[in-house]
């Protein structure tokens, strides 16, 4: 397949990427976002739809902490990260690849690049959280293959408060 042979380039994001990244995060997370499942379970959050909340992440993020994967000049994946100089734990935050570009190791390349950046920034550890349900199985396998070990399983709960129920 010709698409398979397209070379992937990973680069630092810049200010001009914000709109592209906002669209990318919505498409890449459409099948695996907790914002969407939360909306399905509880209704609109703050009067806005899940995709607006996702896009917001990229409109407000520090682009220095975002890398982009491009195939033939088109953004097809991204990864974000955070640094903590006190604990020296770097956090791998949101990361995703467009559905039609999955299964080619682009996510793994993004992750490897983030881990390199965390080391260069003086971090001693890397931390990442993902879902434990089925849609997140490929993500968990990717983290485990790159040496991550699970240490904490958790559950997120939500409750509608009275004034919201009226």
């Amino acid at each position: 397949m010709t698409q398979e042979s397209t070379e992937i380039e990973i680069r630092q994001a810049v200010e001009a990427d914000r709109d592209t990244l906002a669209k990318l995060i919505v498409r890449a997370f459409a099948d695996v976002t907790t914002n969407r499942s939360r909306e399905e379970q509880f209704g609109l959050i703050g009067g806005r739809t899940w995709d607006e909340w996702e896009a917001d992440i990229m409109r407000t993020i520090d682009v220095d902490r975002v890398i982009v994967a491009e195939a033939a000049g088109t953004a097809v994946g991204f990864a974000t990260y955070e640094l903590d100089d006190a604990t020296r734990i770097g956090t791998v935050s949101d990361n995703a690849v467009l559905p039609e570009f999955r299964g080619r190791g682009i996510g793994a390349q993004l992750l490897a690049r983030v881990l390199g950046l965390l080391e260069e920034a003086g971090m001693e550890f890397a931390e990442v959280s993902t879902g434990s349900d089925d849609p997140y199985t490929p993500a968990r396998r990717m983290y485990e293959r790159q040496g991550f070990r699970p240490y904490f399983r958790s559950v997120y709960y939500m409750k509608k408060l009275k004034q919201g129920a009226v």
């Binding site: 907790t34 499942s37 939360r38 379970q41 509880f42 959050i45 703050g46 909340w53 770097g90 881990l115 965390l118 080391e119 003086g122 971090m123 001693e124 550890f125 890397a126 931390e127 990442v128 959280s129 993902t130 879902g131 434990s132 349900d133 968990r140 983290y143 485990e144 790159q146 040496g147 991550f148 070990r149 699970p150 240490y151 904490f152 399983r153 958790s154 559950v155 997120y156 709960y157 939500m158 409750k159 509608k160 408060l161 009275k162 004034q163 919201g164």
Partner: protein
């Protein structure tokens, strides 16, 4: 349940605690539970005016004071503070393993519904290992 003990429990905002222990958490408030003037439990929370989701943050009761509903009282009070602050939802996360079973039961009894299960991974980076 020794609910009658609750007369001794004074729950109030503890500004000093907020400034010192929890100072790294922004826009956070803490309430504490006292028995006979001694702090035996606390609960912290955060507000988000954009999403109107209030986060129930760290909360705990000293081991020797557990099993008498102090945690549930703290939680109920936090939920009320969230409502008063205009929040539409409350969110909380806790562990899925056995030590967290009482916490999960408490949240479920007060109307929380599970939303998402997650796993957190950790990795030592080369400069540490090497």
């Amino acid at each position: 349940m020794r609910a009658r003990q609750s007369g001794e429990i004074l729950t109030r905002i503890w500004e000093d605690w907020k400034k010192s222990v929890v100072s790294k958490v922004d826009v956070s408030d803490v309430i504490i539970a006292e028995v006979a003037g001694k702090a035996v439990g606390f609960a912290s929370y955060k507000l988000d005016d954009a999403t109107r989701i209030g986060i129930v943050d760290d909360n705990a009761v000293l081991p020797e004071y557990r099993g008498r509903g102090i945690g549930a009282q703290l939680l109920a009070q936090v939920l009320q503070l969230l409502e008063e602050a205009g929040m539409e939802f409350a969110q909380v996360s806790t562990g899925l393993d056995e030590p967290y079973a009482p916490a999960r039961r408490m949240y479920e009894r007060q109307g929380f519904e599970p939303l998402h299960r997650s796993v957190t991974y950790f990795k030592e980076l080369a400069q540490r290992a090497g």
